[in-house]
């Protein structure tokens, strides 16, 4: 069981999904980072929502505007609306969320809610 869990969470294999955008989740001590591959998407095209420990990414991929009628030779990129809900490992302080775009990769850093953090409990002497 433990080794199975280790294998699942070792981060070596790719999770079998075709959802857009593809995401990675990174865990820190009291924070979590979600990165998403969103080439061609700008910050004005994305809406982020946080409900307790569920982060939702919504947006639209728009084809670039061509001034004149063009002759398409190859259309492999896809366009349209996307929406993804990401279950986070703990509850988040909504005031401590930072999101930025970097070369088509969206990075969202979320801090754990103070009240949700593990607390050390002292054992009183009898």
């Amino acid at each position: 069981m433990q080794s199975e869990m280790n294998r699942l969470f070792s981060g070596t294999g790719l999770a079998p999904t075709r959802d857009f955008p593809p995401i990675n989740i990174w865990l820190g001590e009291n924070s979590v980072v979600v990165t998403a591959e969103l080439p061609g998407v700008t910050r004005n095209d994305v809406t982020l929502n946080l409900q307790d420990d569920v982060l939702t990414l919504e947006g639209k991929r728009e084809p670039g505007r061509q001034q004149e009628s063009v002759n398409w030779q190859r259309r492999e990129r896809s366009y349209g609306s996307f929406s993804r809900a990401v279950q986070l490992p703990f509850r988040i302080d909504p005031d401590k969320v930072q999101a930025r775009f970097n070369n088509g990769i969206l990075e969202i850093e979320l801090e754990r809610l103070e009240a949700d953090r593990p607390k050390k409990i002292e054992i009183r002497a009898a």
């Binding site: 969470f9 981060g11 070596t12 294999g13 790719l14 999770a15 999904t17 959802d19 593809p22 995401i23 990675n24 989740i25 990174w26 865990l27 820190g28 980072v33 990165t35 591959e37 969103l38 080439p39 061609g40 998407v41 700008t42 670039g64 061509q66 004149e68 063009v70 002759n71 398409w72 030779q73 190859r74 259309r75 492999e76 990129r77 896809s78 490992p89 775009f101 970097n102 070369n103 088509g104 990769i105 990075e107 850093e109």
Partner: protein
């Protein structure tokens, strides 16, 4: 006008590559749009994670090669716990027709999209031919 040299499924890795690339670093075929206008041919390739200093574009004879090296999206001090994409490099080769003005090719990189604009040579532009009256 712009034919692809190697045909590979998208998001699959190609085994060919230069020797200096570290092992285990995947090479992706970037999904691309290509369109032709009156004046030029425009290539748009998706290369998320690639910064402008990681782009390499070469034109050798009629072979246009676009390469992108991902800067890596790994946040410092974090451990990866869930994985749907991996950082890698991008590479694709197209064969162009002869009639490109090679000196005026332009490339830009914005939001992870590489755009290469290949202006047509003057001789290649469509020309209206008038009938002479005899």
């Amino acid at each position: 006008m712009a034919q692809e040299v190697r045909t590979t499924d998208q998001r699959t890795t190609t085994t060919t590559g230069s020797a200096e690339r570290p092992p285990n670093r995947p090479v992706f075929v970037p999904p691309s749009d290509i369109y032709e206008t009156h004046d030029s041919i425009v290539v748009l390739a998706e290369m998320p994670g690639v910064a402008s200093d990681g782009v390499d574009i070469t034109l050798e004879r009629r072979m246009l090669t676009i390469r992108g090296r991902s800067a890596g999206s790994e946040p410092g001090g974090y451990q990866r716990v869930y994985n749907e994409y991996v950082d890698g490099d991008f590479e694709r080769v197209f064969t162009l027709s002869d009639n490109i003005d090679r000196d005026r090719i332009e490339a830009t990189l914005q939001d992870g999209i590489l755009q290469v604009t290949l202006p047509k040579a003057e001789t290649a532009k469509p020309r209206r031919i008038e009938l002479k009256t005899s």
